[in-house]
Symmetry: C2
């Protein structure tokens, strides 16, 4: 994500004990060496770019390049790690520095498209491109930055008429805090296409599991609570790195914003620092994360430590309710939900509030905190009532949001997940949405993050076939489109969508899209 | 220099004992910290660029920059060394990498002109420009490469809408193997403008004195024997680092080319390696270097060790003589002399041969090597005779060179230094040259290296006033034009000359232009 709002007079409220607990849980990174597979040519195919194999790496290494020649190396799969390149020279002793450009791409488009043409809304610093002088050859260069990539283009910008640069070899030390040995094999009943989908999900998860759960190893390389929630859910049925979830919970709980608001994301370098971005839905998801964690681990100490912070998010959310217990709308970036253009957040936010109130109620009961349970109960009744009274349009058969009474997929899905209406009515809404697919008057979905909630809603309503069909149409189609990992953004009808102004800045391995493993493993295990 | 010829089937003949001696003389680099003086704006002035002070550095540091803003830092004088930059941020916590461009310039033009517009004949890798991502802020970055510069522009290419990059501080750890405490004060009689010229020469020398005598710390950062000869001459009257000369002599003597030819330049990294460039004049200058070294140090062991290698260069040079004992001409880069366009090398080469034969004779006598002395004597008579018979045009009053009978400053100067004609005739030639200044039919001079020999010729002919006037007109004018060090190339009538296609690739601190100190200190001492 990249959201440009921030709190005025921002301050960070630190709970040292929580932070210490979080820091004691820093994971060990598992390292492995990944070697190139082949050289490829990046070629135009329709509106996109594809990598076409040229030669095995064993035949390619040692290739001599004179400016402006280049070689594009294919590492065969998505990598996250530290790259080492070995260079030498051919011809006379090098009498001028070699000057090279390196481009790292998760997808071929990042290699093919010109970085200087990017004028999008977020920092071009995310583009994985380096310019490097090599004064002395031969040289073994371990690049200090971590990259997320499958393709690496080495282009010689300058050498001298007297020598050519040779690319002797390349390797990547990949890093992850995921332990693959912890992943159980899939039940035999899982069909091949869901095995593939599970594998891509697991790869996405693993590559985002670093010192914390990152949203994406290319961008933003940061712990966001919206992503964490889905990563943690998937983690419980895959890598079982519960300590990493715990670490992230204590980080969010130990580094609060003004008014003890849980922040949307946080930084671990150069020091622990909560970001100044505050989001209505993301703060409430601290409750979800804690509830899921407790449910999956039974770790009561953590629940006891963090319950107060979790409950406090409800108190803060209450301040945003109007006299009818309806979440107040506004034009700034107060709530995320999805990247869909023009999406009004009011109804979705009401849904998130109800969902998390229900989760908080579970935790309050677990904590035997009768007073808070009662308070939550009251609030639940009022907010559910507000949703059905003011947001539900019986005639249209849809929830509506904001002053313009907008109808969107996000609003329906969140209020279905909130269980505002009876189950049968929810199923009908989903049927109506399906029937209206492609209808431009209804604001659609853009992110796998929103699609996750749609699939979740389908499962909750017992529409299992529809849920799997949706997964196949969406995540399955991403695989068809060449995904080694699942993307940050994907619209099957508009494949090159980006909220940032260019697809080269998109993240193509993004945690919030990792949930097919969660659905597959939950479903086939329960079968 | 950057010369694109090379020997076929090149091999290096190593004398381990010589190499060990050279390596035992590796100098200690003296380090000192240089801090910025001010920020400057680079502004157009006529055809050139100038730096206009904006504010003291104390007022500038901490400056906040959003893309595409920049700050140009003036370190107040030419620096050679390792730069450390301190960055921080202002605004929200940095949520995207900062992406910056650094440009280092010895002169303002290197900052102002676009590197991507350079399409010259030598490697663009020499342009001192870096692109850098900063993932974590604050950051203290010590750049791994050595730069030669006075100006450093920091330009922010990308940050994010949420923060600005701040330039907190900068410093340069300057390095040199020169010891300033060894330089004697100038005699009181030296006038102010010659004191200034001496100071700039010394700075030029010091900045080129590194692990070896480099030609230029920006480019080529390499030991060339043509430069070494003039650096050594100047060294004997300034920094007195005779061991550095000795080291360089043993390197050239210990790393020979095919047929035991002394190479034109050599590399010390990644390993000791003689370059495959062979030049007629440069190989013979090994004799000059050895003779000057012995004359200044009396180090007989070095003379005895290296005399055979020195003498052998004469044997090799003899192969290039035709039946009339005239150096054979050719179209390739067989002899350097100067960068002047279209310069024919034959007559100049004949001059260099005679000069170095005379020097060899001194050494042969010193070595009591009667046989070689006699051989040299014979050759001297024949080559001098050939020059006066075939190259001297009595009617024109000039030496002529090559099939086209070209008249050039270089030919006159070298054959004057060779003493082919009587002293009075030489004076007349110099007078005629002076009278023809600007005459396009006579090939002029381009480099301070060639101007050095012109001034040397004037002194030798007793034209002391003219010699000093020439120094004032040339090196003095360079200072007027803003030189902190003396340049690789300078033509007062065509100030933006470059043999490489762009002045931004020129070296503006170049060893072969350091000899005003030699002349000033020799002359005023003898006064």
């Amino acid at each position: 994500m990249a959201i440009n709002n921030s709190i005025e007079n921002f301050e960070m409220i630190v709970n040292d004990a929580f932070v210490q607990k979080a820091q004691s849980l820093r994971p060990t990174l598992n390292k492995s060496e990944v070697l190139p597979v082949s050289s490829v040519a990046i070629e135009r195919k329709g509106d996109d770019w594809v990598a076409v194999k040229q030669a095995d790496w064993s035949e390619t290494k040692g290739i001599e390049l004179a400016p402006p020649e280049s070689v594009c190396i294919d590492f065969g799969d998505h990598c996250v790690g530290y790259v080492t390149l070995k260079f030498a020279s051919a011809g006379s002793p090098p009498d001028a520095p070699a000057y090279i450009r390196l481009k790292f791409g998760e997808l071929p488009c990042e290699i093919a498209e010109k970085s200087e043409d990017y004028h999008g809304s977020i920092g071009a610093g995310w583009i994985q491109e380096e310019f490097l002088h090599i004064d002395i050859l031969p040289a073994e260069i371990r690049l200090p930055r971590r990259y997320a990539f499958r393709y690496l283009e080495v282009k010689v910008l300058a050498s001298s008429p007297k020598y050519r640069l040779t690319v002797e070899d390349a390797s990547c030390e990949s890093v992850t805090s995921a332990d693959w040995s912890k992943v159980e094999p899939l039940p035999e009943s899982v069909p091949e296409h869901h095995r593939k989908m599970d594998a891509v999900s697991l790869k996405t998860m693993a590559d985002c599991m670093q010192d914390v759960f990152e949203d994406g190893p290319k961008r933003d390389r940061r712990l966001w609570i919206g992503d964490l929630r889905l990563q943690a859910l998937t983690n419980y049925v895959t890598f079982h790195n519960d300590d990493l979830v715990k670490r992230c919970l204590y980080l969010f709980g130990g580094l609060l914003q003004n008014e003890r608001h849980v922040g949307a994301c946080l930084f671990v370098e150069p020091k622990l620092q909560i970001d100044d971005t505050a989001l209505f839905d993301y703060a409430l998801f601290f409750i979800s994360c804690l509830k899921d964690y407790y449910e999956n681990t039974g770790d009561r100490q953590t629940l006891e430590d963090l319950w107060e912070v979790a409950y406090h998010q409800i108190e803060l959310a209450k301040n945003r309710l109007d006299e009818n217990y309806l979440v107040r709308d506004s034009d700034d970036w107060w709530c995320f939900l999805d990247w869909a253009d023009g999406l009004n957040k009011q109804a979705g936010a009401q849904g998130v509030l109800i969902v998390t109130l229900k989760e908080a109620l579970v935790l309050a009961n677990e904590m035997k905190d009768g007073e808070k349970a009662e308070e939550i109960q009251k609030l639940l009744i009022k907010t559910i009532n507000a949703a059905s009274t003011y947001l539900w349009d019986e005639k249209k058969g849809f929830f509506r949001s904001g002053a313009q009474r907008q109808i969107s997929w996000a609003s329906q899905i969140w209020l279905i997940l909130a269980g505002v209406l009876p189950a049968e009515k929810n199923r009908q809404i989903l049927g109506r949405l399906e029937a209206k697919k492609g209808d431009k008057s209804i604001i659609g979905m853009v992110t796998p993050y929103m699609y996750h909630h749609y699939v979740e809603a389908l499962f909750r309503c017992g529409l299992v076939d529809e849920a799997f069909k949706q997964m196949d149409d969406y995540w399955g189609q991403m695989i068809e489109d060449g995904a080694d990992c699942f993307f940050e953004l994907y619209d099957p009808d508009n494949r090159y969508v980006s909220p940032y102004g260019s697809r080269i800045i998109n993240s193509y391995c993004h945690a919030w899209s990792c949930t097919p493993s969660y659905f597959i493993r939950k479903w086939y295990a329960e079968e």
